[in-house]
């Protein structure tokens, strides 16, 4: 299809969807189902799998039109690991049957997904993981522990990377599965974070059985699939154009306005930060323009790192602007699992809590140190570090 033709196809599909399912009177899940069936979930996916088989650059248009039509877009973060990452993995590495089975309920939020990568012994170095999967006929038997698994407590499905061949070097002996979080032998324990909530969990596998038709891609291809996952994740974090004053910086501006101190040094610092955040926002816009024009550059890779640093700085500054109020935390602390109702979260999240939560920004989805390695090596072409573990069989690599 020509670019113009694609645009027409997508635009028509949007019009039909909104005509047949007026957002104002359609229940969210019904709308999402219809959106999926119309091929407007991920337009670049094949027809019948939530897409129209057009270029991914039309995603932005879909999003824009749906927002304008007041379509239900709220609360999608509760399934960000599915919609933002799992879907891309299934599109790139899944079979038709797997896509038919999982994509629609994922998109309608009937099934929540989680990502089971990190382990106590394998965080940044996720390729060092040791959760074992052993073949048993048409099934695999899984034993091991995952940690910091966001949303595991609400999830139906998990994206799981395991070690299937300990004699191979670490990047080679891994295999990727979709695991049923309700299966026997899966134990999920909340892990409380510095805010008191538990967004994430510890997940234990004890002789958990996974049917072979839930394996993604080939045996031993786990690293390749994991890389697709992480790439989707880093785009999902900090890669999306947002409106001016979105998020923490908007809260900072409001906090300044209501503080009424008028202190010039504070105001200048606030404005400096506003400028840095705006520069990041404009960079995201520039990146998506260049992407659309087919000339992607380094501007597309800086978002995650910049966002983590700035979000920490801005939220900390906001708490300072509160004066002694900043020494309190309105919600108090309570150890409880997160519900992931984002409308609720946005309503009640205090600057103090946002400040605490922001410390995770430079850890989750790849630490800022790892991001700097990636920018330095893959974008700027600087040499990698000497690696002691690269060619050793996984079982001989030192751990701790």
């Amino acid at each position: 299809m020509t670019e113009h033709r694609e645009q027409t196809v997508v635009a028509d599909a949007i019009d039909r969807l909104i005509d047949s399912y007026p957002p104002a009177t359609t229940e969210a899940k019904v709308f999402w189902g219809a959106q999926f069936d119309a091929g407007l979930a991920w337009v670049d996916f094949p027809e019948g799998h939530g897409g129209l088989g057009v270029s991914p650059k039309h995603r932005e248009m879909v999003q824009r039109h749906l927002v304008e039509a007041d379509a239900p877009t709220w609360n999608r973060t509760a399934n960000v690991l599915g919609i933002g990452m799992g879907a891309g993995v299934l599109a790139a590495h899944g079979t038709d049957e797997q896509r038919m089975r999982w994509l629609r309920p994922m998109f309608t939020m009937d099934d929540i997904w989680c990502q089971l990568f990190s382990e106590p012994g394998a965080g940044s170095d996720v390729a060092g993981l040791s959760t074992r999967a052993e073949r048993d006929g048409d099934e695999w038997i899984v034993n091991g522990q995952k940690v910091w698994t966001t949303l595991a407590h609400l999830a139906k499905w998990g994206l799981l990377v395991t070690r299937t061949d300990p004699d191979q070097p670490k990047h080679k002996g891994m295999t990727y599965f979709v695991v049923d979080m309700e299966a026997e032998g899966v134990e999920i324990l909340p892990l409380y974070q510095i805010t008191g909530e538990a967004e994430f969990n510890e997940v234990f596998f004890s002789d958990t059985r996974i049917p072979d038709d839930q394996r993604i891609d080939d045996v031993g291809a786990g690293w390749r699939v994991a890389m697709t996952t992480l790439m989707n994740e880093r785009v999902a974090i900090g890669g999306n154009p947002v409106p001016r004053n979105h998020g923490a910086i908007g809260v900072a501006m409001d906090t300044w306005a209501s503080s009424g101190t008028g202190d010039q040094a504070t105001r200048r610092e606030l404005v400096r930060l506003w400028g840095e955040v705006e520069a990041m926002r404009l960079t995201t816009l520039r990146a998506s323009e260049n992407m659309k024009a087919g000339v992607p550059g380094p501007e597309g890779s800086t978002g995650k790192l910049a966002w983590a640093d700035l979000n920490k700085e801005v939220t900390s500054f906001t708490v300072s602007m509160l004066g002694l109020e900043g020494a309190t935390i309105p919600e108090g602390y309570a150890l409880e699992a997160t519900t992931y109702d984002t409308r609720e979260i946005e309503r009640v999240m205090s600057p103090q809590r946002h400040f605490l939560r922001s410390r995770a920004n430079s850890i989750e989805g790849g630490t800022s140190e790892i991001m700097r390695n990636i920018l330095g090596e893959r974008v700027l072409g600087l040499p990698g570090e000497p690696r002691v573990d690269k060619d050793l069989p996984w079982k001989e690599v030192p751990r701790g």
């Binding site: 501006m253 960079t283 323009e289 600087l382 570090e385």
Partner: protein, 374 residues
Amino acid sequence: MDSSPSFTRTEEQIMLARTVRELLETHSDPDDIREMSLTLDAFDRDTWRNLAEMGVIGLHVPEVYGGAGYGFVEMAVVFEELGRRVTPVPLVSSFVASTAILAAATEEQRSSLLPSVASGDVVATLAVFEDAHGQPGDSMTTTATRRDGGWVLTGSKRFVTDAPVADLFIVAANVDGGVGLFAVSVDNEGVSVEPVPSLDGTRPLGTVTLSAAPLGTDAYLGGQPSPNAIREALDAGVVALAQEQVGGAQRCLEMSVEYAQSRYQFGRAIGSFQAIKHMCANMLVAVEHAKSVAWHAARSLDDPEEALIAVPLAKSVCSDAYLLVAGDAIQIHGGIGFTWEHDAHLYFKRAKSTSLLFGSLGAYRDRLGDALGA
């Protein structure tokens, strides 16, 4: 205004950048630049002539006044390349002065002043600051008084960019209860220029003293006070400097990465050390952010409402970015980066002095705060 002209450059703009870059790389030698930076009147006249022949000096000046009639975005491309090479040519000064003339002057004055500025035959510059901290207009002492149907100007303008090489000054003076602009030739009676050693040897500074300088009636641009013209010209200057800052910062990053790949210590390229690699990654973020705001400012100059935000934003972000990147470039080069022989100091000096020109960072942040209603 995210939908105004795109961030993506047109074929023509890419060609223009390439042509200017080639010109500078073949005609403007870093050794010569260093040499010139030891003088008080650095000016690479050959390059200036070449730029003039390419029609670049009056790129933004309307065709009726002898320019090429392009938009500011094209001019921005040129400034980025100049910033990358730090060749001493007074294009920012000339651009600011011609913007002031366009904003304040009558049709007749434009027609008489602009063609020679656009052709590069006359180097013009804006002379508005009188002390190190004041804003233009603040407690200004330079005064114009009427005499014999003409004017007499008395006062002193400091920190005038490219003053030692300029032929024409656009001078702000108290007049008619406001601030007006006057076109004053360097050859005019009562005008003297004292070069002042500049931190950035590639952009000369000077003090222009007017000792009862007699001027004709037509020297008074527009024949009335024009404070907005000064603001407009300085804003254009800040945006021009932002492009230079981007070009310079990008060059510093490239130099640093090249060096980090080729310099070996402890048996490894220093770029494989994370302390160095991570510095480079931070520089990359700063450079990419600076590009976004500088280009956004360039495309916003024709949109008064967005310019209120985009101009001080460019000053704030690009100044800090260039300072960070130019400073880190010295660090990454180690001892050699601290030598006169190396280019790093040219950029470092540029970075610092540029952040101070046309108004302080604090003043622009105050303006940005005003624009945001903070």
